[in-house]
């Protein structure tokens, strides 16, 4: 490996990750892609999922993101996500509550609920839970 690439994960509310990493794997909307140093400039949308990366010291880490987009430059990968959470920051209890809430809302089948929204919330929460449990 020629060296490390800088990974920045930024949300409107905070900067979640800012470190040098060996490799990043991110969920592009056309499929997962891996980024190493020296990548051709590249711009893509991201879907809900997990960004996995290997830190400079070889530790594997993961960050959950809801949709966003990523820009790769030869020495830097910037991810702009609407929300993001490191694996160790995920609050399992809260996620479980969110799942319960979303399921209840979906099961209620009331006309005034936004079906799509509840479904999106559910899949977000499930994703988080899955990530938190693969520690």
């Amino acid at each position: 490996m020629a060296g490390n690439i800088r990974l920045e994960v930024v949300t409107p509310e905070a900067s979640i990750v800012s470190e040098d990493v060996q490799i990043v794997v991110a969920p592009g909307s056309f499929g997962e892609f891996g980024i190493l140093i020296g990548h051709t400039p590249f711009l893509t949308t991201l879907k809900l999922g997990t960004i996995r990366y290997k830190a400079a010291d070889g530790v594997e880490k993961a960050v959950f993101i809801s949709s966003g987009f990523a820009e790769a430059l030869p020495d830097k990968l910037t991810v702009l996500a609407e929300s993001a959470e490191r694996r160790r920051d995920i609050d399992v209890e809260r996620v479980k509550q969110a799942i319960k809430r979303a399921e209840e809302r979906l099961a209620a089948k009331k006309p005034d609920i936004n079906f799509e929204k509840a479904k999106a919330a559910l899949s977000r929460a499930l994703h988080r839970l899955k990530l938190a449990e693969t520690k």
Partner: protein, 297 residues
């Protein structure tokens, strides 16, 4: 003697008011700090977003998204009005509202219907009083803690409504934070999206020609179509942040002035009190001296 007592009561009352205004000033100060931190946290995202969007917009076609196309006939517009929930912040809300009033009058004069979405209670109350249609109201957000999802939800609704042709233009009215002493009301058109210019070239950009040879996935147009609604959320979020910061700054200034005014009042009243006391003492002395003189005979 009654006046002495009265003045004293008044002094106590003013001092109590001063305690309150001072406390409010301190609360506003700490909230302002929080709001400014949020603005700081948002900056990296906003800058990067503007960078990418600007260069994408340059490459994409003019009609890549319906959000870019101005309507031929504008019959109805929506105004997203950001004000505070609470008062006691000087001319903050009235500055915003007087500008909106002028704007709405101008548009009504052109036979354009104006409808409102309100962030903040003061704006909503004004809309009710003036008899405007209110599409939606979000209270308890401006000046409080809120996340980006607030902007996403409200922005989504705005974009949907625009695409369904419920309205032909959307404006946002908010207070721009310039300095502690100055907050300016601003009207900004957010839909249809105005042609997006590249942010000002920075020195470092000249060395690395920016985004010239990016591979885009999906295509540039699709990517832009995906980013434009987010552009609305970003604008909305930043407007809300600005308004919150401005509100706290305005309240701080107003409360600071009020505290000073209380000090002045206490000074004036103390002077009046001392004068009244002195004159009553003098009168008493005169009585005694007069009495003694009379006894001497």
């Amino acid at each position: 003697m009654a006046t002495l007592k009265e003045v004293q009561i008044k002094i106590t009352a003013v001092k109590k008011t001063k305690q309150i205004t001072k406390a409010m000033n301190m609360v506003a100060t700490s909230k302002l700090r929080g709001a400014q931190q949020k603005v700081e946290a948002f900056r990296p995202y906003a800058l990067k977003f503007a960078d990418v969007l600007g260069s994408l917009a340059e490459k994409a076609g003019k009609e890549a998204s319906p959000l870019l196309i101005p309507r031929e006939e504008v019959k109805k517009i929506q105004v997203i009005l950001c004000t505070s929930d609470k008062g006691l912040c000087g001319g903050f809300n009235s500055h915003l509202l007087s500008m909106v009033e002028k704007f709405a009058k101008e548009k009504s004069g052109q036979n354009i219907e104006v409808v409102f979405t309100n962030f903040g209670k003061k704006g909503r109350d004004w809309c009710r009083r003036s008899g405007f249609t209110i599409l939606g109201e979000h209270l308890g957000i401006v000046g409080a803690k809120f996340g980006f999802n607030i902007a996403t939800v409200a922005g989504q609704r705005t974009v949907d409504g625009f695409l369904d042709e419920e309205y032909d233009e959307v404006y946002i009215v908010y207070s721009k934070f310039i300095s502690m002493a100055k907050q300016t009301p601003v009207i900004q058109q957010i839909l249809p999206i105005q042609p997006i210019g590249l942010p000002e070239k920075k020195v470092e950009d000249e060395e690395t020609p920016y985004l010239a040879e990016h591979i885009c996935e999906p295509s540039t147009d699709e990517l832009l179509g995906d980013m434009l609604p987010r552009h609305i959320y970003v604008q909305l979020y930043s407007a809300l942040l600005e308004t919150s910061t401005s509100e706290h700054a305005a309240r701080m200034t107003a409360m600071n002035n009020a505290t000073k005014a209380c000090d002045d009042m206490v000074d004036t009243l103390s002077l009046a009190y001392n004068k009244a006391r002195q004159s009553s003492i003098t009168a008493d002395l005169m009585d005694i001296v007069g009495g003694a003189e009379a006894l001497k005979g």
